[in-house]
Structure formats: structure tokens, C-alpha cells
Symmetry: C2
């Protein structure tokens, strides 16, 4: 089969790779209907993480091809969505809703879903099947559920967004935009998107942002403070992962407020005394997408949300390198790859 | 009047000081019935914070002497308990239960309650009166409510301790011990106190600890992990404030679990990637004691809790320097000072 490989920072190509096979009887093999490039894939692309001939990709939707003998919840032919973290969904941590901290968790990044086929470990715990094959126009939305929607949703839930809240969203990447959508769905009254890019601002407004702020850092904090009677937002979504973005989030949250942070942390050192004085709640990490999948898939099926709008470019898998470039230069917000196109 | 002054690290004496007067019409003046030395007073005593001729003390119970014209909720003669943070208790942040983040907050530490009299700002929002003058043996418990009990209680609430939980408590000072008591009252099934001192271990058990661990750091984390089937505790109370104690707390908490941190942060730098991977909830800061006072005072009045047991030494105010020495050397857990003794 064909699969994406990142040879070194900035150097991506599509290569031949053996088709995946059932390795454990709890595995499923899927034919990937759609996959995509994640903001987190840009960290190694930009040299912020080491990378050497790595299989890429952890987001996916597709059709079940084959299942191991111990798989009972999905069967060949079904259209399935799965989290970017494989989990058993039965352990105590999973049952508490933290499938990304499952005692048997396996990151799909190590497997690589930017490919024509993918092996999904712990298929019963990881995959959720659609009742029937979805209309083609819904496929991007289901793909979003696999990571960015689930992650943005988790951020909003972690920030305890509720009816009437003022929510600030730090980060205008796909996850931040999905955070805006989640905040709207969870009843936020005012949603302040922090973005400097016209295309992302427009999408943020489409997803439910009521205000857009172009400043960042201390200036961004001052703007949020002013918009909230000096108190700060009830809830802040941190969807970047840098020191600046985290400090901006802490500074923008009122005493007793909540921060949901989902940007993959890079070089952050959170000053304890600043956190102490802030009296905020801080919760985040790799999103337990599996917790939210059934609900999110229902909302997609009923067309009450349209997260697939976050994909502003679709390419054949063979052109993955162009997709990485477009996301790196911010020409595209998020690139969908079609493994069997062309 | 007589009042404690810390001249420099390690150098405490009792000096003459002007009696406080009503400065704002929202003030009350109280005759201090009992005050005490806080673990946080040891930071400057040990030179970890700058100090020069500072008035000391922020914990207090006493009798109202005089009130400003705008004070309506307490009157002269009443026995009152107040938080170590004065608050209006009416602003939006107070109403959300974060009186320590009140828009008009004033720390009592700057006023100094290790004295015969004290001015309490924002008396209506800060003080809670007992329905009648309490029995003398309950005074230490009411005094504990002013800070250490309220702070330990907040830590347990911030850590979302609930029925059936396994709770670990990092720190065996007065606040940690009050955290043990709070965890028991909130229904925890297993309470693991981390302590190396026999006297504190005994008190922890009296307050409800079911297990005591003497190890700390990585060894302490390993012990908690082993006791919790490899998962970590549901809830962890961090009542120290050092880098080691915070990392111990993060390491001891299961994915999706909660940390309540109330140790005054000193030099902490929390690595974002560690926090991200841990999937824990982190919440803490200066406790909004006022939120809990009515409930805690009811529990004390009905003798269902006995937090006053945390005071293992009582001295006349004039011997405050001995009290500081005893706490610094860990001869005493917490020292109660009687301003009108002897």
C-alpha cells in the first residue's frame, strides 16, 4: 500500500509499505476512507521534535476490512470512526471517561494512518461504527471527530463551558476552531476567538464566535479583561501548547474559572506562584476522544454540527507533501487526504 | 496593645503597637481571643521570603469591639470567626465561591492578627458570628476554621474528594492534617497520609488517615501507585508548595484524577508536558475560607469535628518567639497564641 513517511523535518513523501495485518486478535484492519494532517504533525515537520523516517498520521475514518477473532463490536464493511488513541474502553480509567489514559493505551501516531490501510488495536474499545454508511459529504465531519473535534470538545468540557459563560479561545488552528464550535454547542453566551488570520476568523465566526481579538500575550489578556468587567473569562480553551499561550490562558481566566488545555505542550514551565494566585482550574492533556464519539457522531449524523468545514483543502494521499507545506505556511487550516483518490 | 513583629528572618518579638481604629466604615475592630502561627509564617522566618519589621498573623477569632457605620451583620460583643482574606462577599467572584479572589480582597497578613486587637476590613463580608459565645474548649477549633481547617477543606473540595475515593495527602503540617479530616468528612474510603513524624502520623490517624507512608518523592509516588493497582489516587492534596511536593502530587494522581493544591507556592515550575501527559485536574490557591465558614462552624458547634486538636501547644502572645522556634524545629505542629493570657 501507499503511506506517508516523514524522513526528516520538512521532508515528507509517500512510499510503499507492507499492508497491515492482524497482529493481535483484538485488532481490526480498516481501509482508510479519509485521513488528515494534524497541527501536531507540524511540530516534527518544523524540527521541534526529532523525526527520522516516521510513519505519520493518527486521524482516520474508514471501512472495516478484517477483524481479529476477539473483536465483536465491529464487522467487515462497516464505516467506523476511531480515536487517535486506541483504548480498551473497559478499564477503570476508561470507565471514568479517560480513555486516553487507558491502562492499555496505544497512540495511533506510532501506527500511521496517513496510509491506504491501517491496523487499529483494541478495535472493540477504539472504534465506533456508523449505523449505516454515511453520505459522502459527512465523511469530513466524521474524520474531524477522530481528533480535532473530539479534542476541541474535550477542551470545552475540561474548561467546564456551560450556559451563559464567556469563553476565550487561545489558538486559531483546527482544534481552537473546534473549541469554538463545542463552546457554542455547550451553551456559551459569548465566545471570544483570538486570531490574526482572516480565513480563520471567518470560520470562527461561522462556528459560533461572537467576538474576535487580534492581540495576543499581555495585550490579549488586557483585551479579555476589559471585555469581562475586569474579571476574566469563565472558561478558556488553550489550543496551542506554548509558554505564551498558556500564560495568556491563565491571565485571561477569572478566579475560580476553568482552563481546558489541549495544545501539545512544548517547553512549557508553568510558574506555580502564578497559578496559585490565579485560583483557576487547569485540566487538559491528550483528549479522551472515545468518551465523546457516540454523542459527536449523533450530532454529525443529524447534521446539527458541521465540523468538516474545518478542512479547507482536500488532496490525494499522493500529494501529502503539498498538504504539509500548505499547513506549515498557514495557507490551509487543515488538509484532508484521500488515500484512494486519483 | 501588644503585637508580634518579625524583625528579620528568625528574629521575632512582641512589641507595643497602636490600637487599631476604624479606618473605613466597613471595618470592625475585634479583641483577639486566640490567634496562631501559620506554616506560611515560617517561609519568611526561614529567609525564603524577604521580611523586615513585619506585623505577623492572619488567623483569628475574637469578640467584636466596635464596628463602622456601614457594618450590619455583626455587632459588638459577638464572638466572630473570619477568613485570613477579607472579602466583600457580594461581588461576582465571591458569589461564585472564590472570596479569596474577591475584587476587593485584602490579605489579613498585612494587618497582623498576632496582636491583642485587630482591624477587620469588609467586616460584613469577612466575619461570621457564632449564635452565642462558644464554650472555651471550642475556641481552638473555631480558630482553626479561620485558615488551616478552611484551607485543608478547600484542598479536599478542590481535589473533588467524594465517597469511596482513595485520597493521598502530601504534607503533614497543620493544613495537610486538616486535609485528612476534610477528606474523611467528605466520604473518602482510603486516606493515605504521607508523613515521617510520629506525632503527625498519630494525629493524621486520629483525623481519619487509613494508611501512612513515610517515603516521599519518586519512592512516595511508587508507594501510592502500588497501593492503587497501578492507577494512582483519585484525589491528592498538595499542602507543601515545593517543586518536589507538586511533582509528587502529579505523579500520585490517576489519569482524570484531581489535585487540590494549597501549599503556598515557592519556586515551583510545573513542566507543561508532564502535566499534559498526566491528564490530572489541578486546582488550588489561597483558600476561599469564607465559602466554607458557615458549614465548618456548624460542624464545630455540634462537635462533629474537632480540628482544634491540631494545636499541640498553647502559649501567651508574649512568648510568640518560642512558638515560632517550636514550629520551625517541628517540636510543635501548630502553636496557638493567647493575646490576653498571663
Amino acid at each position: 500500500m501507499r503511506a506517508v513517511m516523514m524522513h526528516s523535518p520538512g521532508n515528507v513523501s509517500v512510499v510503499d509499505r507492507d499492508d497491515p495485518i492482524i497482529e493481535q486478535q483484538t485488532d481490526a484492519i480498516i481501509r482508510v476512507a479519509a485521513t488528515c494532517i494534524c497541527g501536531s504533525d507540524l511540530w516534527p515537520y518544523r524540527g521541534a521534535n526529532d523525526v527520522h523516517d516516521a510513519h505519520m498520521g493518527h486521524e482516520y475514518v474508514g471501512y472495516v476490512e478484517e477483524v481479529g477473532s476477539q473483536v465483536s463490536s465491529v464487522r467487515p464493511g462497516q464505516f467506523v470512526v476511531g480515536s487517535f488513541m486506541a483504548s480498551d474502553n473497559t478499564c477503570e480509567v476508561c470507565r471514568a471517561g479517560y480513555q486516553s489514559g487507558c491502562v492499555h493505551v496505544q497512540g495511533m501516531g506510532g501506527i500511521g494512518t496517513q496510509a491506504q490501510y491501517a491496523r487499529i488495536p483494541l478495535a472493540d474499545g477504539t472504534l465506533v461504527a456508523c449505523p449505516e454508511t454515511p453520505d459522502a459529504d459527512l465523511v469530513p465531519s466524521y474524520l474531524a471527530a477522530s481528533d480535532v473535534l473530539g479534542t476541541g470538545w474535550f477542551a470545552a468540557v475540561a474548561a467546564q463551558v456551560g450556559p451563559g459563560d464567556t469563553v476565550a479561545v487561545v489558538g486559531d488552528g483546527a482544534v481552537g476552531l473546534m473549541g469554538v464550535l463545542a463552546a457554542r454547542e455547550l451553551g456559551a453566551e459569548r465566545i471570544i476567538a483570538m486570531s490574526r488570520h482572516a480565513d480563520r476568523q471567518a470560520l470562527a465566526v461561522e462556528f459560533g464566535a461572537t467576538d474576535v481579538i487580534e492581540t495576543r500575550g499581555d495585550e490579549g489578556v488586557a483585551a479579555i479583561t476589559e471585555m469581562t468587567n475586569g474579571l476574566g473569562a469563565h472558561a478558556v480553551i488553550e489550543a496551542v501548547g506554548t509558554q505564551e499561550s498558556m500564560m495568556q490562558a491563565i491571565g485571561s481566566t477569572r478566579a475560580g474559572g476553568h482552563i481546558g488545555f489541549v495544545g501539545v505542550s512544548h517547553g512549557q514551565e508553568i510558574p506555580g506562584n502564578r497559578l496559585f494566585r490565579s485560583l483557576v482550574h487547569l485540566h487538559g492533556g491528550p483528549a479522551p476522544v472515545r468518551r465523546f464519539l457516540p454523542d459527536l457522531m449523533d450530532r454529525i449524523a443529524s447534521r446539527s454540527i458541521d465540523p468538516g468545514r474545518v478542512f479547507d483543502r482536500t488532496l490525494p494521499l499522493e500529494q501529502a507533501a503539498d498538504g504539509y507545506r500548505a499547513m506549515d505556511t498557514r495557507e490551509a487550516i487543515k488538509v484532508l487526504l484521500e488515500p484512494f483518490a486519483g
